[in-house]
Symmetry: C2
Subunit: 348 residues, 2 copies
DNA sequence: ATCGTTTCTGGAAACGTTTCTATTTTATGC
DNA sequence: GCATAAAATAGAAACGTTTCCAGAAACGAT
């Protein structure tokens, strides 16, 4: 029993105390404080003063238990230390806070079981809504798990069939196609592509853009240079090493997502290959500071802050009765120094 | 009384339903499920089965209201999108989750008023503990605000006098002194130093190391090159521009913290100055990817993951009755490419 | 058998709100 | 003034648990 008694004032003042002080019924206190219309001015003043004098603060749990609303939103991501997700989380929290909601943060650690445990935990806590970037889209029981939450859901960059939720999707294929086309037009044919599992929209949509660029250019699609598996840096690094030690090695690389990019850069460094010189390199999603580091990285950019804000807005909308909707966020190919190189003094 | 009217799937199953199903009293259900010792084996099995069959999940709010424990920890930071804080948050959440706690995340946006509102919100939610990186240490009412929380507190890199809390402090002065000494030994005398307000431990301890290096080397301390104000990138950028356009401009720069470093790098870029060449540059705290970017930045390093884990551990310890303690985390000067340069072909 | 002790169980009182219902007061129209 | 409606208030019943208390059953020991 952690009962730290500071001075002696640790008397938790309840609605009873206020009622007694003001000399009115408990129900009147509640009515005044929750802004019920049928309250006389005299009562309002009397209650307000008693509450102020006692420094009354309604007990959150009692309110939630009775009313059902928890003013709490669950937020599940693979890994909040990922700076891209960090920005989303920050903007989301700011918006939700403005609307009077608090955010319960949980990392799924990229693990399906952990994610499911987290959702169960959130259900017990009767959250008013959930924003999540799921590990995978086709987990058995996923739909029923989310439906049992009995709260509106906003998914980030995920398409779950048959689920009545909102979604914030990025238009990855456009940016990736632009980037790939640019590389092809510079003379690249052997372009490597590393990203996460095709079990999520993110990868599938990027792949669509990648393939489409080859098709439009009439260049053979280099199946053997496409490596799709996981989003983490370890995978990115090992695959980069594997691909760039092939006999006929790629001349360019697209890395899909923050983790892949980190791994790719580490892998290249260990191989002694310099982006923009020994190969052309485009990162999908930007690391913070991409704009100021000594070396300039090209990227397929999307606005994390906007994604966070849109997610919060969509969720709040659903909480107040609106219907689910899908929001598409654009991506943009940003050309920088690293888009050059990789071709033996042929061009430029 | 819509009790056993289980056609609709959204029937929230309560302890009553389980009691009815098992044919025992409500109190027995509670006893079995909370592992009370005085329960017969027969009862345990009967209740367990009934609960499983109905898929019973205790209501979190009812439990908290009655028992007082919320299994919830508050986590307040200036800005969760700061990758350094992101890592702390991630590790913290993982540890807390293992212990059965959930984490309520709030950004203070670097604003005292927002921070205070957040703390009030957390008090109403009766959190079991708080981990916070406060905006400032000497806010009036801060102590009483935190004491009114009536829950153990762990502060990150802050010293609040008279508050009975744990603290995770970094030994900044050691790392900063090492870095500064190295720069001095390379021939630098005019070393600029940009960091946040001296109203927090972080800055004061860094400054201590900075001054100490000059004293030990017997070199005059360059007061006019020290700029302490805010941790954000805007401040870092404008101060960098100001200092490096002085008539007698600095030959080296230390930037204090993630934000300052971002600002400093932007400022230098706009001035056309290259770290490691036109000036020597040491960042305090590392940006992710410092190890792989084209340009190699020196740093004063501290382990964010460890800070997160230690914070969680210290808090859990206090929750279970332990006393507050202060943990000192070491910092290390890591020399890379950017420690060179800035001296006109004098050395090296 | 009787009498303590344990061990186990059921009933009911909290926890601090909101909300429903019933009652009293006030205002309104004629 | 008087009926009638409307507004304001009090009282009490939830919400779903945990926990206290008292009693019942079980068990040895006399």
């Amino acid at each position: 029993m952690p009962r730290s008694k500071g001075k002696k004032s640790s008397a938790p003042v309840t609605i009873h105390d206020v009622a007694e002080r003001a000399g009115v019924a408990i129900s009147s206190i509640s009515r005044v404080l929750s802004g019920h219309p049928d309250v006389s001015e005299r009562m309002r003043i009397k209650v307000q003063r008693a509450a102020d004098e006692l420094g009354y603060e309604p007990d959150f749990f009692a309110q939630s238990l009775r009313s059902g609303a928890t003013k709490t939103i669950g937020f599940i991501m693979r890994d909040i230390s990922n700076p891209f997700f960090g920005v989303i989380a920050q903007c989301c929290e700011q918006e939700l806070r403005k609307a009077g909601y608090s955010m319960l943060l949980m990392n799924s650690d990229g693990d399906v079981a952990t994610e499911s445990t987290n959702i169960a935990q959130l259900r017990r806590r009767k959250i008013d809504g959930l924003i999540a970037s799921l590990v995978s889209e086709d987990i058995p029981e996923l739909n029923s798990t989310l439906e049992k939450l009995n709260a509106p859901v906003v998914l980030l960059d995920r398409e779950v069939v048959g689920l009545n939720s909102s979604a914030i999707l990025a238009n990855h294929h456009q940016g990736v196609e632009d980037a790939t086309s640019d590389l092809i037009s510079r003379g690249h044919k052997r372009i490597a592509f590393i990203s996460g599992s095709t079990r999520v929209y993110t990868t599938r949509d990027r792949l669509k853009g990648f393939k489409s660029a080859f098709k439009k250019a009439g260049v053979a699609y280099p199946t053997e240079l496409v490596s799709l598996g996981k989003f983490d840096a370890e995978f990115g690094e090992s695959e980069t090493k594997r691909l760039f030690t092939l006999k006929d090695r790629p001349t360019a690389l697209l890395s899909g997502g923050i983790g892949s990019t980190a791994g790719a850069m580490r892998g290249l460094k260990k191989l002694g290959l310099v982006p923009g010189k020994d190969l052309a390199f485009v990162a999908i999603d930007e690391w913070p500071m991409f704009d100021v580091y000594g070396q300039q990285f090209s990227s397929v950019y999307r606005d994390a802050a906007m994604i966070g804000r849109e997610a919060a807005a969509a969720l709040l909308e659903m909480i107040s009765g609106g219907s689910p909707r899908t929001i598409m966020v654009e991506t943009h190919y940003i050309v920088r120094e690293s888009s050059t190189g990789g071709l033996k003094a042929k061009k430029k």
